[in-house]
Amino acid sequence: MFEVRSLRGRILLQMLITLMVLPFLFPLVAMVQGSLAGDGWANYAAVLAVPGLWRFFVNTVIIAAGVIALVYTVTMLAAYGFGKLHLRGREVYFWLLLACLTLPEVVLLTPLYTTAQTLGFFDTYLAVILPLAALQVPFAVLLTRTFIQGIPDELFEAARVDGGNAIRGFIHLVIPLTRPIAAAILIFTLIAAWNNYLMPLVFLQSTEMQTITLVPQFFVGQFSNDQTKILASAVLTAIPEIVAYLCLQRMFERGLAAGAIK
């Protein structure tokens, strides 16, 4: 965008951006430094020695996978219906769905709590997966519909002329062509499901069902407020997230560049 020709200008630019990024790095450095205070690496050993730490990870993975599978299936079907099929009252349905985008999750607490208890969902993965998916689908449909609308109609018409029905069009056109936007949805959903705090806090009461966002609180109880160990547990839970992001980073940028959001 900007053109800086002189060497001095470019060095200044580089220094400026480095200086501006430092505050973003600071909390991460403080986290690692704090986790090594006192007993040093022994903090990590103590955290890893706590039985059941794995449970938190496994639970989070199960919940995130469930939410992603549900959101992906439901979104692709709906975005195809909204984008390329005949639908009377299309805009009404679409706005019904979009209004859900504005919904704060606290609003769901009381009704879900009582309903989950009556239906016996309470303290199961479903009690968290269903509302999380419901909250993610509207945004995912919004992104995917715009993307599918951008696919030329001629492709779908050609498929129909060849005797294909809507299902064939879905399997052979929608699924392969929406891959870039699916990557963006995958990542947004993963972040939302992995990082959610309120739903597990309220709906998963027993310790063996809880997720990694509840780990710091769990350790406050375990180590009676020994800050260094709590920070060590924070580092340990942050590492998989950073690794996952670094692995998916390429895919994510391509998804955004595919025109996900304008």
Binding site: M1, F2, E3, R10, L13, I17, M20, V21, F24, F26, P27, L28, A30, M31, Q33, T73, Y80, G81, F82, L85, H86, L87, L96, C100, L101, T102, L103, P104, E105, V106, V107, L109, T110, P111, T114, T115, G150, D153, E157, R160, F170, I191, W194, N195, Y197, L198, T213, P216, Q227, L231, A234, T237, A238, Y245, E253, L256, G259, A260, I261, K262
Partner: protein, 313 residues
């Protein structure tokens, strides 16, 4: 910036809009209703059911257990209108939205422009900026509590750069607790604003910028007349997302300050949680939830309509 290049941008916008609007041979298409049904059942079913349920509860004086709650009509809403803490949370939400949105937009634009300007090691900066977005606020909360503690790293840093007179208990006093919450939010979400701006800027036609530069436009005027209008859609989307995000704010104040001290960082979300779960005033919490929902919808509509108007003009 010349008139030609402005016309060029306008023409581009028109072609993009035109391609999207094209619809034909509708009667040949298969029916879409069965396809959207699963999404409708999941979202509309679950969410609208919950909203209706909450609306009903909001007319009760209920502790969450009593099988025969007292019907109070709009009594809860009347009490809320006279509740000073409720008005405090509204004030916090507005201030929080304005401050975080302005700072994130400025920083996001700044980073996006610089990283489009052939800076070395651009990937490293990108990754560093985006890592906060992927980290759970719930995981980072204890870290920030530690950093902003009276003997924490932030005060340590201030002392070591010669600003020792500024050290204070950041979380523990009313005047600085809210700014701390804002700072954490800016830290967390600037990466997303940046990435979206970065993607949007990649779609601005390079030849327009080249043309403007040949006409002798300075960097600042290219930023104002080409880049800023070119990313308007992103700015608008971010405004809607931040406004709704501000209304939804829960994790950070709940975990870092607990809404305190003396309600200084209480938001609608944390207040609803406090009323519903901690104090078992479930009816009152439900009424607060309905107000929150209406505010979020109105906010989205206003921003959507205002954005639409500007698009036409």
């Amino acid at each position: 910036m010349t008139a030609t290049s402005i016309a060029q941008i306008e023409r581009q916008r028109e072609t993009v809009g035109g391609a999207r609007g094209g619809r034909r041979s509708r009667r040949l298409r298969p029916h879409g209703l069965p396809w959207i049904l699963p999404a409708l059942v999941l979202c509309v079913g679950l969410i609208y059911y919950c909203i209706a349920y909450t609306a009903v509860i909001s007319t009760w004086n209920w502790d969450g257990i009593d099988p025969d709650p007292e019907r109070v009509g709009l009594g809860n809403y009347l009490r809320i209108s006279k509740d000073p803490i409720f008005w405090k949370t509204i004030g916090h939400t507005v201030a929080f939205f304005v401050v975080t949105f302005v700072i994130q937009t400025a920083l996001g634009l700044f980073f996006a422009v610089l990283l489009h300007s052939r800076v070395r090691l651009a990937v490293v900066y990108k990754v560093l900026l985006f890592i906060p977005v992927v980290l759970a606020p719930a995981i980072m909360a204890p870290v920030f509590r530690r950093i902003f503690a009276p003997d924490g790293q932030f005060n340590w840093l201030l002392e070591h750069i010669g600003l020792g007179s500024l050290t204070q208990p950041w979380i523990g006093q009313e005047s600085t607790a809210l700014p701390v919450i804002m700072a954490i939010t800016v830290w967390q979400w600037t990466g997303l604003t940046f990435v979206l701006y970065f993607a949007a800027m990649g779609q601005i036609d390079q030849s327009v910028i080249e043309a403007a530069r040949i006409d002798g436009a300075a960097n600042s005027s290219i930023l104002r007349h080409v880049i800023w209008p070119g990313v308007r859609g992103t700015t608008l989307a971010m405004a809607i997302l931040s406004a709704i995000g501000a209304l939804k704010t829960f994790d950070v104040p709940y975990l870092v300050t607990g809404g305190g001290p003396n309600y200084a960082t209480e938001f609608l979300g944390t207040y609803i949680y406090r009323k519903t779960i901690t104090q078992s005033h479930v009816g009152y919490g439900a009424a607060l939830s309905i107000i929150l929902l209406v505010l979020a919808l109105v906010m989205a509509l206003i921003l959507q309509i205002r954005g639409g108007e500007k698009e036409i003009r």
